[in-house]
Symmetry: none
Subunit: 193 residues, 4 copies
Amino acid sequence: MRAQGRTTQRRLGNAGLRVFARRGFHETRVDDIVRAARTSHGTFYLYFANKEDLLRELALKCSAAIERLANDVPAVGPDSEGAAALRGFLDAFFEVYAHYGVVIRAWMEGQVTDGAVDRLGVDAFTHVARALWHSLRTAGAIHDEATVAALMALLERTSYAMSSRDLGFDHAEAIDTLTTVVHRGFFNGAPGP
Amino acid sequence: MRAQGRTTQRRLGNAGLRVFARRGFHETRVDDIVRAARTSHGTFYLYFANKEDLLRELALKCSAAIERLANDVPAVGPDSEGAAALRGFLDAFFEVYAHYGVVIRAWMEGQVTDGAVDRLGVDAFTHVARALWHSLRTAGAIHDEATVAALMALLERTSYAMSSRDLGFDHAEAIDTLTTVVHRGFFNGAPGP
Amino acid sequence: MRAQGRTTQRRLGNAGLRVFARRGFHETRVDDIVRAARTSHGTFYLYFANKEDLLRELALKCSAAIERLANDVPAVGPDSEGAAALRGFLDAFFEVYAHYGVVIRAWMEGQVTDGAVDRLGVDAFTHVARALWHSLRTAGAIHDEATVAALMALLERTSYAMSSRDLGFDHAEAIDTLTTVVHRGFFNGAPGP
Amino acid sequence: MRAQGRTTQRRLGNAGLRVFARRGFHETRVDDIVRAARTSHGTFYLYFANKEDLLRELALKCSAAIERLANDVPAVGPDSEGAAALRGFLDAFFEVYAHYGVVIRAWMEGQVTDGAVDRLGVDAFTHVARALWHSLRTAGAIHDEATVAALMALLERTSYAMSSRDLGFDHAEAIDTLTTVVHRGFFNGAPGP
DNA sequence: GATGAATGAGATTTCATTCAT
DNA sequence: TATGAATGAAATCTCATTCAT
């Protein structure tokens, strides 16, 4: 594949991400994607075996991004410095979600049927969870499985809400509050001034 | 419509809930529903204009169930009695979610296109959120909008995880832990012994 | 069949005529008819074998009405008295058409598949044509087959136009003019004053 | 759309005209059309939104043909030369009707639901009527609205009869007679020898 | 006599995918 | 490498007709 081909493939990938986000995976027609990418049906099938294959490719990129997140889980101390570190991580988390939200949801709803790729996603999230577990333990906080699951849930759900529906509150402020809540509720953060 | 008709309609509604839950709304074929309800295509279209219309009807019932939840948000004190009250509410919340999870997800993904019904759902969740806000205030805890949103997110996301994927942990135990986390993290609950 | 039954049957017949006229035979649903007759599907099939059967019944009544027309074709002299006689006939013709137009059209379009009934219609129109032929001959006018066909066509087509589309001209005036045209063009009527 | 596509679309249009003529619009199944055009269901819906849309396209062509007729209405003198000119026009009129009869009937029965296209048809016929009005006036004959309407009716109805049912008389002879009748009855044509 | 529920054959329509150019 | 045309399997939906009550 040469430069032109790679460009076309990338254009299709981006178009897919855009249209999936707007319409949802199932409601998206191949026709929508090729129109958004300003190319043709024939071309789409030149680069992807089918609609799911495109999702799979996007899922691969997404899992890589999540793995990077896992490596960036910081140590979170009880003081304001810990809160800042936590906040940086939450920022990064939401960033990934804003970009790959659809893919993540498709994942969670079991629409990624390729077992290997599905596994990659589960693994990536597991790594984030494990990193959080370590961080919680380091902080001397409760760190059993359920707590970690609850923390993950909180992050995912909030990300989803922030990326999909405009809930009428300020983005930065929301992260601030969430940081506080997570810091105190999960990481034994000290009550603020 | 007579008794027999009402029965059939109810049977179709229940079948829909079952099949939607198993297959997801988009993947469900009208054929699946009528087979599950042991009736015919024609009969389905006698009672519902189409698949979406069935979802709409289910959404109506669901919003009523959520409204009932909103009325049952208890006062949550810092002691173990408060924790027990909270736990009761969480139980009820998960119950509704286990029953109507698909509908709620369809709602959140914007598949309920009837504006009026969509509004009912938003309203119902808003009422729950407002009731939680009151309860947080009564408990003397942080109760700004973002905190409430985060709490709602935690409940929803955990409910989803518990109703859809078997995460390999015990149901009752999970609610226990969640109760503790929410009690301490959101309601100023006293640290356990 | 007792009085109540006959009433119901008549109600269905009238409803059919009404709905056929509004929607056309093919576009009419049995459902439309029973709703218009304020009765039920089951009842409809109590009195008619199917939708076509209703059309057949209406066609029977219609052919009787047309036969009566055939018997009322007057002698048409060249003077104003002849014109008056002609006008009376045209009035009657339009009357029948206004009532049974749909049935006649269904006939002409071959939607009455019962051969015997179709024949009744053809016969009835043939009788009218033959009566007109006699009248033309009596008047000393051209009276070959094609002329009669053309005259019939003129009557039918005008009736159709008058019964279906509002062409923005006055009904009575239209019959006056048509009387003049037919009188002069077909019956050797004397030019007016 | 490229050459191949245009060919296929035209093939479908012609097939539609053929099948509509044979079966009638309502009785025609999309299946009949694609079989006649030797193509597939999918292809049909590639070029037309549905059966009505095809009718609409045909109606567009038809209205153009009728507009051409309107421009070809000749002056009709009282002598045999006038009769010949009239005959030429009637020939053209029947030609159009033989080709587009179904469409015209569908029009008159209100099956063309697109208001704009319906309007085109009404306009086209109005133009023919207006041209006939001019011609009648030029000939010094009665030329009020109703007379023109009657003349139009005669032409349409005869065309319909000639194109749809074999009435057992000779085509050419029928036009001859009609020419005579119209010439004398409407255009003040001189009585023949 | 009357009813509304149920049916299923058949029609319409969609859309992922293949193919010839 | 790119394209638009073509396909047909599968889905949705309609509605005349039958039937149990």
